[in-house]
Each structure stands twice: as C-alpha cells, then as structure tokens.
C-alpha cells in the first residue's frame, strides 16, 4: 500500500536494526506503542472513541438506528462496519470508493466484534421480522502511523462499550446500554525477514512481507484471524503469534477496556 513512501535507505536501516534485535523507536519486538483511548468524544454519536496508537489516530463513531432485519435473521440486530482511508490521513490515500485495503480492514474489524459475540444481537431485536437496531460502526482514520487494524478494533470495542440504544429518540422506551457480553481485542504481528514484531509502525508495515491479525476474547480464545500480505508463514510462526497475541490482548484489555 504505502511501499512508495519509504525510501530504500530507510528500509535498509530498519532491516539492519531488526537483525540486531532492535526497532527504530527502541521498542521490544512484542511491545506496543503508547495507547490512548478517549471515549464519548462525539456527542452526536451513540458511542464514540478516539484511539491514538503511537502516531496512528482513529476516531470511531457508533450510530444506532431502527431498521429492518435481514430475512434470514428476523430476530437479530444488524452490525454494519465501515472504514474509510480518507486522503486526510496519509499522502498515499485517495478519495473515492473504498479500495481493497480499506474493505479488508473494515471486514476484519467487523468480524472481531461479530464473531466474538461481543454484541448480543438477539437483544437488539425490537419487533421480530420488522424492526431491529442497526448498529453502524464507522471508523474514521485521521492519521496513518501504521497498524490501523488494531487501532480500529480498539476504537470499535471502546465505542461500543460506551454506546447507548437511543430508544427514547425513536419513541421506543428508555435509552439503555448496548448489550455487550465480551471484549475482543485484535493484535497484529508482522513478519520481517523471519522475525515477528507486534504493532508495526508505518515503516515497519511497509517493509513487512505479511501481517497476521489475531482477535481473542476475554476467555483468551480466538474469535477471528486474518493473514494479510504475500509472504507465507510457517506453522511455527503462526502458533508463536497466536500465543503472544492472546497474552498481549489480555494486557491491553485489562489496562484499557475495563467495563
């Protein structure tokens, strides 16, 4: 995606550091950059969060409105996750319909929430077959400093944790909290020249052969995974990433996402 914005010299520099077991910002291979999460930053949204993950900056807004259920799940609410890589956030992003990178990020963010069962969709039913709550999770990327994936997933769950069902606005009774029952956390690793690092910076991401995102739940079990990028991974690498991702997710959850 952003291959062009990093010079060959810089690539060599990072690569050589890596061989010595170091990263450009001095982090350990399994160390995240500084995380800041502020919630309720957008009053007009039913839930919202601003996440800063190092230089990466995303705002996630959750809008909730009544709508029609899907025919095959008449008694379940609907989650719709959207992510835009707007040109404000990076010189390499372009205006226009979302491209495959943005679509993949949106869909993996969505699966993290959906497959972990974090949202109890059956509690989002208003009238079976007719009216359910539609939960729109919109991820707005403002600054791409690398690893948008984890920032988006963090923002999505943090925004949901503070979101309200706006029942009173639609004459549907009192407002209530969104029925959350798990707190999934996504952890992304990159493989660079055989080494595995967590939470890649933009430069690291741009020279990585492949990324693996592992989303795990409160029980320390897997909810979603996605390999992205052309370099293959060995079974050992995958198992290693899964192990540290689950641990790291636990750490992040306990530190930033206490209900």
């Amino acid at each position: 995606m952003s291959n062009e914005v990093i010079s060959e010299l810089r690539k060599d520099y990072i690569y050589n550091l890596m061989i010595k077991g170091e990263r450009e910002d001095g982090r350990a291979f399994n160390q995240y950059r500084e995380i800041t999460i502020d919630t309720n930053v957008i009053d007009k949204a039913e839930g919202s969060a601003r996440v800063k993950l190092g230089d990466t900056h995303v705002v996630v807004g959750v809008k909730i409105q009544p709508g029609t259920p899907f025919p095959d799940t008449p008694d379940q609410g609907v989650i719709i996750t959207n992510l835009e890589l707007i040109p404000l956030a990076s010189p390499v992003f372009e205006a226009g319909p979302p491209r495959e990178d943005a679509i993949e990020l949106a869909r993996v963010t969505d699966r993290g929430v959906r497959e972990s069962g974090a949202l109890d969709l059956s509690k989002l039913c208003i009238t079976p077959g007719e009216k359910v709550w539609m939960v729109f999770i919109d991820v707005h990327v403002l600054d791409d400093g690398g690893n948008i994936m984890d920032a988006s997933a963090l923002g999505a769950i943090a925004a949901l944790m503070t979101a309200k069902l706006p029942a009173s606005r639609f004459g549907l009774g009192d407002d209530s909290v969104v029925p959350l029952r798990d707190v999934p956390v996504s952890v992304t690793a990159v493989e660079i020249g055989g080494s595995i690092m967590l939470d890649p910076s933009m430069d690291e991401e741009s020279i990585a052969g492949t990324k693996l995102t592992v989303t795990s739940n409160q029980a320390g079990e897997l909810s979603a995974m996605q390999k992205s990028g052309v370099h293959p991974l060995t079974t050992e690498q995958i198992n290693y990433i899964v192990d540290i991702a689950i641990e790291k997710a636990k750490e992040i959850r306990e530190k930033f996402l206490v209900i």
């Binding site: 007009k44 230089d55 409105q65 404000l88 729109f136 707005h140 791409d144």
Partner: protein, 243 residues
C-alpha cells in the same frame, strides 16, 4: 428539539449568548503527523479537522496547470457527525460546500509560486452543529499556514442569521433549523469578502447590517487564528532554544 416558542428573549439566545456573540472556539495547530499542515477547530458543537498536503505532484496529470498550483478542497462529513447517520461519501451538498470553500481560500494563496503542483486541503467534519463550512474554512486557513504554504493573509469565516426577526451572529443548529435566514461569509483581514452565501429572508437593510455583523465576527476569529499560530510558532522557538 421541536420548535421552541422563542429563540431569543430579552436579547439573550437559548444558549445564553448575546446576538453578536460567537460560540466558544478552540484551536489546535499541527495535530496530525502525516499531513504537511493541520488544524483541529472546535466552533460551538462543531468539531472539524483540516489537513493540507502540498505543494505536491498532481494526479491525474491532466489536472495540472502550467502556470500555477491547482488548489483542491474536499469537505467531508463523518457518518457519525450528525443526528441521522450520513451515508459515507460525497453528496451534492458537500460538493457545493467544497467548491465555495475552495474559492474562499484561493484568493490568499500564492498559487503562481507552484506551477504544475497541487495544494490539497482536506476538511473532515467529525461533529456538526450548524456552521460546519465556516469552521472548515477557519481550520483550513490555519492548516495552510501550518503547512508553510505562502499566503497573502489568513481567511476567517462565520455566519450571521436571523431568528425571531433579530440578526444574530453564528447560528447554532436549533437557530439554523428554526431561524429565518442564514448567511455565511469568509473574509480576509483587509475586509475582502471571499465567500458569500445567503438563504432565507432578509430586507436590503437587514442584509447590510448582517454583513457588518459578520465582518466583526470574522475579525474576532482572525485574532484567535493568529494567536493559535503564534502560540505554536513561539513554542517551537522555545523548543528550539531549549535544545
């Protein structure tokens, strides 16, 4: 909120402001890492962020101008910025707002310094509360300065409206919904008008009065824009001295 009986009573508006009072403004310069210049601007309930990239190469190339830079402006509302979720992507309103906002800023940019280049301005409305285009222009003007784009001056922008037959500065959402007129302008410090739109109902005299009121609002905003830039600049100087 449904239509209130009165939008202004005894010279005081529903949010407590006087007729010629602006909403609170909060400015942060240089909030983004990737952009060449940026600004976060809170204007009452509006939360907007502007980024500037450039001068840089123009893609697609046929948009290049041989004797000056191309200025592009993309005003975009986040889906969650409004009460009813907005579908992502440009609509007809945002295309018009982008056009007039670009034209509000072009006069102060030394475009001829950068032939064949693009100066790209991106304005994201994170939260909307009436006056987003004026907030966007104010933010963009600072972001241009922050990006080091040579400019003749800043541009400042605000609206005047009419509620309960009274002219008031800087409408909020309820005043906009239930008011009688709305007139956003943008202005250089010298008083040149670079944006002027109006809809609703104003007599010729009201219009003249409104224009003067708006100009005063712009002047006040200009001072805040200048301060915000000075502050960032001086803190940089300090930073440099401390090194």
């Amino acid at each position: 909120m449904s239509k209130p009986e009165k939008l202004i009573a005894d010279g005081v508006r529903l949010d407590g402001r006087k007729p010629d009072e602006l909403r609170p403004i909060k400015i942060k310069v240089g909030v983004l890492n990737r952009a060449d210049g940026s600004c976060y601007f809170e204007f009452g309930g509006n939360k907007v962020i502007a980024a500037v990239y450039g001068p840089r190469e123009v893609h697609p190339r046929h948009m290049q101008k041989s004797t000056s830079a191309v200025v592009r402006y993309r005003y975009n509302m986040a889906s969650f910025s409004v009460e009813e979720r907005k579908r992502p992507g440009p609509d007809r309103r945002s295309i018009e707002v982008s056009k007039v906002s670009r034209e509000a800023l072009e006069p102060v940019i030394f475009q001829e310094y950068f032939p064949r280049s693009a100066i790209d301005i991106f304005v994201e409305i994170l939260q909307a509360d009436a006056g987003t285009r004026t907030a966007g222009i104010n933010a963009a003007s600072i972001a241009l300065a922050d990006a080091g784009i040579p400019m003749k001056s800043l541009v400042s922008s605000c609206a005047v409206g009419k509620i309960d037959d009274t002219l008031v500065l800087d409408l909020n959402k309820d005043e906009d919904n239930y008011g009688q007129a709305d007139m956003p302008i943008a202005m250089t410090p010298e008083g040149n008008i670079t944006l002027l739109q109006m809809d609703g109902h104003l007599s010729r005299d009201e219009f003249r009065e409104a224009l003067e009121m708006a100009k005063k609002g712009c002047t006040a905003i200009y001072e805040m824009q200048k301060s915000a830039l000075m502050e960032k600049y001086s803190s940089q100087i300090e930073g440099d001295n401390n090194e």
